[in-house]
């Protein structure tokens, strides 16, 4: 149990109901000052609702939420100057430049000597400082959104899906910025459905599913306590391997293109599977055996894939 004074955020039995839908169901957790806390969950799990309550833009149905020791329902204007928020699907004024946008938000926070150039440098937008927001690509917009979230030099930074919709390169650029925040000792509340993002950046991971908090701990703890198996990935030419593995009592999962993933206890089981497929004359194009990662833990705990379907996910440069 940590000292409450060390808590940047304390959520206790939080519930949010929309009519008959229970979006958040008795969620409790704490976030220590200076840690990167990653909030994971499938789409519609209640992540954004929880974040929006914590950052004071929604009201809880019941339970309590304290940010930097203040109650979110009573001390909105005590909390907001000390936090920075990148909301989901962030947008800004189309016809303001990057610099003007940062200047505007710094005025909203009544910042005395805002370091606009420093922020522009931090998110690597120096070349785009005079560009209108509407002309920025998705990745640049997200970087500007992060800079806005930092304009008041906040103690706690909330980033709600900061890399959704970005291509791998743009995503890595955002990760670099987040790692910089971590080094500066900021408390970061990161909502994401990208497991590698959480695994790379987070000190603590909390997994929410169907409105309930189902697991919490460091990425290593979660993997060790929830995934005592190996993941065998087989690259196959046709579907015969699927039947063969099913007959052997395994539960293979088809993952395109032409691959099957199956959980095994140890190396002996891997050997057994390979021998059996060879005997059955099933052609094998390739294989990979590895320890499970956070994605597999997530899959196991929630029963759902963490990411949106490839069709729904758009990449933006």
């Amino acid at each position: 149990m940590t000292n409450p004074a060390e808590h940047a955020i304390a959520v206790d039995r939080l519930t949010k109901r929309y009519g008959s839908l229970l979006a958040v169901d008795g969620v409790s957790f704490t976030v220590r000052k200076g840690e990167v806390f990653s909030f994971l969950g499938p789409n519609g799990a209640g992540k954004t609702t929880t974040v929006e309550i914590i950052v004071t833009i929604r009201k809880p149905t019941s339970g309590s939420v304290r940010v930097l020791g203040m109650d979110v329902t009573k001390k909105k204007y005590g909390i907001v100057p000390r936090i920075g928020v990148l909301p989901q699907s962030f947008n800004s004024y189309d016809r303001l430049t990057v610099r003007e946008t940062l200047q505007y938000y710094s005025r909203l926070f009544s910042c005395r000597n805002p370091d606009i150039d420093g922020l522009i440098d931090l998110v690597n937008l120096k070349d785009k400082a005079g560009e209108y927001y509407k002309n920025l690509s998705g990745g640049l917009r997200q970087r500007l959104g992060i800079a806005i979230a930092l304009v008041n030099n906040p103690e706690v930074v909330f980033l709600d899906e900061p890399t959704t919709g970005l291509d791998p390169r743009a995503r890595r650029e955002v990760w670099d910025v987040l790692q910089g925040l971590k080094q500066k000792g900021k408390t970061v509340f990161l909502t994401t459905h990208y497991m590698e993002e959480a695994e790379l950046l987070a000190d603590t991971v909390a997994i929410i599913s169907k409105g309930k908090l189902i697991a919490m701990g460091s990425p290593r703890e979660l993997i060790e306590s929830n995934a005592n198996y190996l993941a065998l990935t087989l690259q196959v030419a046709d579907d015969t391997a699927f039947g063969a593995l099913s007959k052997m009592g395994f539960a293979p999962v088809r993952t395109p293109p032409n691959t099957l993933t199956v959980r095994v206890k140890d190396a002996n089981e891997v050997q057994k599977i390979l021998a059996s497929l060879k005997d059955a004359g099933t052609p094998l194009l390739g294989l990979d055996v590895r320890k499970p990662n956070l994605e597999e833990v997530f899959l196991k705990l929630t029963g759902e894939a963490p990411r949106e379907s490839p069709a729904a996910e758009r990449t933006t440069t």
């Binding site: 938000y105 909203l108 009544s110």
Partner: protein, 371 residues
Amino acid sequence: MNLRVVGATLVVNILSFCREKTAMFFTLAFPVILILVFGTIFKDQDSLSFTLHVQDLDRTELSAQLIKSLTQTGRFTIVPVDPAVAAAQYAKSHKLNLVLIIPKNYDRSLTERMSLDDLAAFATLTYIYDPSSTSVDAKMQLLSAVFAEINQRMSGKPPFIRTEATSILAKKYRFIEFFIPGIIAMAVMTASLFGTVNLNTELRQKGVIRKLATTPITHSDWILSNILYQFILAVLCTVAMLAVSYAVFSVSLQLNAWLPLIIVLEVFAFAGIGMILTRFVKEAQSAAAAANAIMFPMMFLSGSFFPIEMMPGFLQTFARLLPLYYVNEALRAAMIFVDHGATLGYTAVIAGVAAGVFIVGVRVTRWEENT
């Protein structure tokens, strides 16, 4: 209330407006174009003159004199029609709404009446007319008035009933001067209602308002900055319209302290209606359609373009329920009649409406759809 925050948001709105050419056009240029178009159309209404096609079948000195006296009224430009053509066919083929026929023997009948004092002698002038034309009645009435005067003069006795017109206004006003206050009221309504609806729905749909909700800006800071923004647009719009009216049409209107007061109240009233509207109609396009549905009937029914006395009784009663009617009347009372008592009465009604809808607007406006 943080004035620094209000000022910063106001500057952002003004910068965005100045950088959006379409918005600038519809807010500033459109009402000016309306003034120019309608001003030109109605410029000569007070000295309206018609083109009159006349077929003189008599072709005598006396019939020529009759045509000359029509010309001398200054209301008709005469176009002669060949006596050999069929007048009705001529009117149809030339798309004319009226041809006047002076009959053969006009000269003889007139001589019999004047020289021989033969009361049985008379001349029948024929109107060949198109009843579907909207302006033909005015033309025929004018002609009949001219002929009645000729008949009266021929009787040799001074008229018994005479008329005298005394204007209730200090000076003679032209139609354009009545029209301008209506257009100002309409332009300010459009800017405030549409401005509020667009700003609220667009920023909400884009998620900008959700971001602003995580900053120290308060609800009242946001609303005050938007009202100031709408007021600045309304003032710019009014100044542009008045400048064009003075420069192009040399209008003579009273500019006094009532004008900014009425405009600021109108901005509050229509911004309030806009806020109420966007609370219940959330999509930008539907909200714009709803704003149009409110605006258009109001524009035509509340006397912006023509006096409401031209409408049927029940519509006149309905017009008196519309806030824009009171803005039109207040502006006309202030700028044309310079009747401070009447202006005060109308302004009080606008102030009441503005206070009511604005308070409701502020109360129903939410930054989040479901908090």
